[in-house]
């Protein structure tokens, strides 16, 4: 725990030193800053990756925005990590908005293995290094279900349910209001639960 805390403190100090050099116009420090921020940016990009876009392209777009807005960062309202997270989330949201939203998910849209996972209660197997086929199928169904939601609702459910972030963390990372997040999550979950019930009813016909 102490080691992790020390590593985080060291990382923050490195980022701040690098940021100061970039602001002084040191181009070499820009490369170093990208290397230091890459893990944080790629995790966010990977979590909200829109279809037909590679995570590396999305990360590049995030970095372009970071460097374009670097002069606007004052550091008095939020730490640099939160500022980076907000830019990354907003960039993902912009790309999700550009993506065409699926109006409705039908039973016919599901693959055979997805139908099996949806219709049958799977016993949760022992955790292995590789993802089990039903786990991958479940992720595919969830992607299809999320595609029926608005981009902001998708992001909230991904962060709350898949990444298991606390509401306070989501507020810090996105700048959204806590009650808004809770209300949107509740409505989105209800919508997805209803869709699942509808799909199962269609499958039993």
């Amino acid at each position: 725990m102490t080691n992790a805390h020390d590593a985080a403190t060291r990382h923050t100090a490195e980022v701040e030193a690098c940021l100061a050099r970039v602001r002084r116009g040191d181009d070499g420090a820009g490369n170093e800053l990208v290397e230091l921020l890459y893990p944080q940016v790629i995790r966010i990009a990977r979590a909200h990756l829109p279809r037909a876009m590679s995570e590396e392209d999305l990360a590049q777009e995030v970095f372009m925005k970071i460097f374009a807005k670097l002069d606007q960062f004052r550091g008095d309202t939020a730490p640099f990590e939160h500022w980076i997270a907000r830019i990354a989330h907003n960039t993902c949201l912009d790309f999700l908005r550009m993506q065409k939203r699926r109006p409705e998910l039908r039973y016919a849209d599901l693959e055979e293995n997805e139908v099996e996972v949806l219709m049958n209660e799977h016993s949760i197997r022992e955790r292995t290094h590789e993802a089990a086929p039903e786990e991958l199928a479940a992720r595919e169904i969830l992607e299809k279900l999320f595609a029926t939601l608005s981009p902001a609702d998708q992001m909230i459910l991904r962060m709350l349910d898949l990444q298991q972030l606390a509401v306070a963390e989501i507020c810090q990372q996105t700048g959204w209001n806590a009650s808004l997040i809770k209300v949107r999550a509740w409505r989105a979950r209800r919508k997805l639960q209803a869709t699942c019930r509808k799909l199962q009813a269609e499958g039993q016909l």
């Binding site: 181009d27 170093e32 990208v34 292995t128 993802a131 039903e134």
Partner: protein, 128 residues
């Protein structure tokens, strides 16, 4: 995580029906995510930082050009050119030559110019 967050998460967990398909899918998908997370490297791929910085530099150049519009460049050039003409004329004919009201006997640039043209015309005619 604060107390209200803890309480709301507990309430959500209590509300969840174990047979709820959405939450069953989430549970399975989370395991798939965990497996894929462990297989992903979080280190930037080779030349990623260099590619980003090249794009940043190119974008900065574009922004610099965009900031000064062509009209502005032409406008400022015109202003500097007219100032240079005024300065040259005032050096050549004296600052009073540019004034609108000329005292008698002073050089009037307009009249001097006309006289010069007339002279050139006559000398041209004489040559013919």
């Amino acid at each position: 995580m604060n107390t209200s967050d803890n309480m709301s998460q507990q309430r959500q967990a209590k509300d969840r029906d174990p047979a709820d398909t959405y939450h069953r899918l989430v549970k399975l998908a989370r395991r798939a995510e965990a497996s894929s997370e462990s297989s992903h490297a979080d280190k930037a791929p080779p030349f990623f930082a260099a590619r980003v910085m090249a794009r940043v530099q190119a974008q900065r150049k574009v922004d610099r050009v965009k900031r000064v519009s062509p009209w502005e460049i032409v406008g400022w050039k015109a202003v500097w050119a007219s100032l240079a003409v005024v300065a040259l004329v005032s050096v050549w004919a004296g600052p009073d030559a540019l004034a609108f009201n000329h005292a008698p006997g002073e050089i009037d640039l307009f009249t001097t110019g006309l006289e010069a043209i007339e002279d050139a015309r006559f000398s041209g005619l004489e040559l013919l």
